[in-house]
Subunit: 247 residues, 2 copies
C-alpha cells in the first residue's frame, strides 16, 4: 500500500487533471457517508503525500470544496466535513419562450395590453422606487401547443432601461427582450399560490377557483430597479425544478 499510492487512492479516470481527481475523490467520500459531517479530512501535507503532489494542488481541490460548502476549513484546526444547515436548490427560471421551445412544444405569444405612463403610487410601490418616473406596463400570455402556459404582468422602469421604449413587445416577449438587453441583473423571487379569479381564469383558460402558482420577481441592477413581474401558472402544469445539495 505504499508505492503507487496515486493509483490506489484515485478511482476517477486518468484524463481528469490531478486536482479534479482529488476533489472528486474527497467529494465521493463525503457524499457516500464514508466521511460523515464533523470528520476531519487529512491535512494538506498528508494529502500531498497521498496524492504525491504539491500543496497548491491539494489546496485548489480543497478550496473548491470549501466554496461549495461541502467542507469547512479552520486555521490551525484542520478541514472538516460540514453539516448542511439547509436544503438548497438551484431554481432555474428560464426565459419562458426558450423554456417552451426547449421542451419541443410550439410557442405562442400574445400581447394583451401594453401602455407607457408616469408611475402611479401602486407602480412605485411595486418597483420600490420613490420618485415618479415613466414606466411600461405590460400584460401578455405565453402558450405551449396553443394551451395557455403562463400569463405575465410586468412593469419596466424606463428611467433604468430607456431602450425599452423602442422595443416592440407585440413581437417579442418582454422577458426575452430584457434578457438580451439588460444582462446581469440581480433578482428576488417570491413563490406563492392563489386561486384563479374570473379574469385570470379566462386568460389561462381554466376554471374559476382553480389553483395557480405565482412567481413574483423583482429585478435590479446595481441599486437601480429594472423590472417587477408577476407570472401566473396554472397549478396542474406543475413547475420545474431541481437540483441538489442538502441534508
Amino acid at each position: 500500500m505504499s508505492l503507487p499510492a496515486h493509483n490506489n487512492e484515485l478511482q476517477a479516470a486518468d484524463r481528469l487533471t490531478l486536482y479534479k481527481q482529488i476533489r472528486h475523490d474527497i467529494e465521493r467520500r463525503i457524499l457516500t457517508g464514508e466521511w460523515p459531517p464533523g470528520h476531519r479530512i487529512p491535512f494538506e501535507h498528508e494529502l500531498m503525500a497521498r496524492y504525491r503532489c504539491s500543496r497548491m494542488t491539494v489546496n485548489k481541490a480543497l478550496s473548491e470544496l470549501a466554496q461549495a460548502d461541502l467542507i469547512e476549513r479552520r486555521r490551525r484546526a484542520g478541514t472538516f466535513v460540514r453539516r448542511p444547515q439547509h436544503l438548497s436548490a438551484v431554481l432555474k427560471i428560464a426565459d419562458i419562450r426558450a423554456e417552451i421551445i426547449a421542451l419541443g412544444r410550439s410557442y405562442a405569444y400574445e400581447l394583451i395590453q401594453c401602455s407607457r405612463r408616469a408611475a402611479n403610487a401602486a407602480d412605485r410601490a411595486r418597483l420600490g422606487v420613490r420618485k415618479a418616473g415613466k414606466v411600461i406596463a405590460i400584460a401578455c400570455r405565453h402558450s405551449a401547443d396553443n394551451v395557455p402556459f403562463a400569463i405575465e404582468d410586468r412593469l419596466i422602469d424606463l428611467d433604468t432601461v430607456p431602450e425599452a421604449a423602442a422595443a416592440d413587445f407585440t413581437i417579442e416577449p418582454p422577458g426575452s427582450w430584457l434578457l438580451h438587453h439588460v444582462p446581469w441583473t440581480e433578482a428576488e423571487h417570491t413563490i406563492s399560490a392563489m386561486v384563479a379569479d374570473e379574469g385570470t381564469a379566462a386568460e389561462l383558460d381554466i376554471a374559476v377557483g382553480a389553483p395557480c402558482l405565482v412567481i413574483d420577481r423583482y429585478t435590479w441592477r446595481s441599486a437601480r430597479t429594472v423590472t417587477a413581474v408577476r407570472l401566473l401558472y396554472p397549478g396542474e402544469s406543475h413547475r420545474l425544478i431541481a437540483r441538489f445539495k442538502g441534508g
Copy 2:
C-alpha cells in the same frame, strides 16, 4: 497613471486579499455593465501588469468568476463576459423548525399519523424503488405562533435509513431528524399549487378551496432513495426566496 496602478485600479478596502480585490473589481465592472456580455476581459498577463502581481493570483480570481458562470474562458481566445442564459435563483428550504425559530416565532409540532409498513405500489412509485421494502409513513403539522404553518406528508425508505426505525417522531419532526442523521443527500424539488380539499383545509385551518403551495421533494443518497415528502403551505403565507444571478 502609472506608478501605483495598484491603488488606482482597486477601490475595495485594503484588508481584502489581493485576489479577492481583483475578483470584486472585475465582478463590479460586469454587474454595473461597464463590461457588457461578450466583452473581452484583459488577458492574464495584462491583469498581472495592472495589479502588479503574479499570474497565479490573477488566475485564482478569474477561476472563481468562471466557476460562478460570470465569465467564460477560452484557450487561445481569451476571457469573456458571459450572457446569462437563464434566471437562476438559489432556493433555500430550511428545516421548517429551524426556519420558524429563526423568524422569532414559537414553534409547535404535532404528529398526526405515523406507521411502519411494507411498501405498497403507491409507496414504491412515490419513492421510485422497485422491490418492496419497509417504509415509514408520516403525517405531521408544523405551526408558528400556534397558527398552522405547513403540513407534511412523508415516506422514509427503511432499507436506506434503518436507523429511522428507532427515531421518535412524536417528539422530533422527521425533517429535522433526517437532516441530522442522513447528511449530504441530493434532492429534486417540484413546486406547484393546489386548492385545499376538506382534509387539508381542516389540517391547515383554512377554507376549503383556499390556495396552497405544494413543494414535493424527492431525496436520495448516492443512488439510494432516502425519502419523499410533500409539504403543503397555505398560499397567503407566501414562500420565501431569494437570490440572484440572471438576466
